[in-house]
C-alpha cells in the first residue's frame, strides 16, 4: 500500500442515510470508514435521513439476532476520525436531539450539509 506514503490527501465523505439494522449497509460503511483511517485522508462522516439512527443511544439488536456494532462509532476518535456531521432536519423529523446520540457530532442544517458535500473530493454513500 504505497499510497499511504503518496502524500495525496483528499477530502473523503462517507454519507450514512440508512438505519443501522434491517440491511447490512450501515455496518459495511463503517468497515469502509475504519479502513480509510489507515490512509491518512481527511475523513468526514455525514448522518442524514434514517442514517441518524445509526448513532442513536441504547441500541439492543440482540432481539433480532444481530450484532450491536454501535459501540464502534465511539471508537472512531481513536482512529483520528472526528469530523462527524448530523443533519438537524433529519434529527428533528425523527423526534431526536443531540442528547440521543452516542458520539459527539456537529449538528448542521440541510443547506450547510449540501455545501459541505460540495467541498468533498470523494463521496461514498450507502
Amino acid at each position: 500500500m504505497d499510497d499511504m506514503e503518496s502524500g495525496v490527501v483528499k477530502k473523503f465523505m462517507f454519507v450514512n442515510r440508512k438505519p443501522p439494522h434491517g440491511t447490512v449497509y450501515a455496518l459495511e460503511v463503517l468497515e469502509m470508514v475504519l479502513i480509510s483511517a489507515a490512509f491518512d485522508q481527511d475523513v468526514h462522516l455525514a448522518f442524514l435521513d434514517d442514517g441518524v439512527l445509526q448513532i442513536k443511544k441504547g441500541q439492543t439488536p440482540a432481539g433480532i439476532g444481530v450484532k450491536n456494532f454501535s459501540p464502534t462509532y465511539r471508537a472512531l476518535e481513536g482512529y483520528d476520525i472526528e469530523k462527524l456531521y448530523v443533519e438537524a432536519e433529519s434529527l428533528a423529523e425523527r423526534g431526536l436531539t443531540e442528547d440521543d446520540l452516542l458520539v459527539d457530532v456537529e449538528v448542521i442544517s440541510r443547506a450547510d450539509m449540501g455545501k459541505l458535500m460540495a467541498e468533498m473530493d470523494v463521496v461514498l454513500t450507502a
Binding site: K10, E28, M32, I35, F39, L124, T125
Partner: protein
Amino acid sequence: MKFAILVNEGPYNHQAADSAFQFCKAAIDKGHEIFRVFFYYDGVNNATSLGQPPSDDRNVTKNWQKLAEENKVDLVVCVAAGLRRGITESNLAQGFRISGLGQLIEAGIHADRLVTFGD
C-alpha cells in the same frame, strides 16, 4: 479522465451492476481510463463463477470478464464482503481478483472521479 467505479449491488436483482458496466464501456469508448472497478456489499456476487443465467439473457459476470480482458480493467472484490457471502478464490470468476477495502480507498485517492452504482 481517470474513473474509479464502486459496484454495491449484485447482478440481476438490481440494475446497478448493468449500469456500472455500461458506464465503463461508454467511458472507455470516449477515451477515458477506468482505474479500477471495486465490488462491495452484494456487488461481490458479480464475481461468482457459478452463475448460469438463461442463454437468451445477458451474462453480467461474462460482461465484466470481457471488459477486463479487452481493456485491462482491474476488477477487485472485497475480501470481507465476499467471505460473508461465500465468494472465495474457489468460485471466483476469471478476470476478478480478491483484495481488501484499501483498494477502494486507494482508487478514491488516485482517480479523478469515484462513481458509485447501487442503493
